[in-house]
Amino acid sequence: MENDIASLQGDMLKFARIQLRDDSAAEDAVQEALAAALSNRKSFESRSRLKTWVFGILKNKIVDIIRDRIRSPSVEEIPEHAYDDLFDENGRWQEDTRPADWGNPEKSASNGQFWQIFELCLTRLPENAARIFMMREMLGLETEEICKELGISSTNCWVVLHRARMGLRLCLNERWFKSGGGNAEL
């Protein structure tokens, strides 16, 4: 069981680093989560249950740290008109920006390379936009909770999430799906 925990440490660190963008805070969060796991190790007969549980603790620690850290992120971090070029003057997709079919994107999720690109795309988002996106989608918080924690209106929260998704989609499209990653044989 100690070995299992040690091997999870790398995954946990990666997960914490990408959300916190601060190595020492990430290490602290992981250490605390692992300490809690070790003190309860007898109750886990399988590695997969341990992993789910230990990541659950880690998520809570990350949320606590983020709560302390950001109070009022700027909605304008991704400017209002950042993605206007994708649309023509009538708000329709341009010929070359109209979203193409990604085929069967689900199979990318079992490809390690895809996850590297996904991580890269997340880190290319502006910091607070990425954080709000991750609070929503990885930590699974409700939009209302996020807005309340951060002291911004629901409308602003939706705007930030929309722009973050737009940016993430564009990046994945360019770096993975357009270059054939979606069709890569596994």
């Binding site: 994107p105 996904f118 939706w158 999430l161």
Partner: protein, 59 residues
């Protein structure tokens, strides 16, 4: 009639809140006519799915 830009906003918001009836209908009508936005909508669902898997991924 919704344009694509507005449709993308609603396709993000529907992941975060319940749309109003008129927004739902407007979006549905737009999607019937717009393959680009249908693709966009599926891609938004995919983003949600993979983000949920991210903590548990194996690489």
């Amino acid at each position: 009639m919704l344009n694509c830009k507005e449709a993308t906003e609603l396709m993000s918001q529907r992941l975060d809140r319940e749309l109003s009836m008129s927004q739902k209908i407007g979006l549905r009508l737009h999607l019937m006519l717009c393959a680009g936005c249908r693709n966009y909508g599926r891609q938004m669902d995919f983003l949600r799915q993979v983000s949920r898997k991210f903590p548990q991924r194996e690489d």
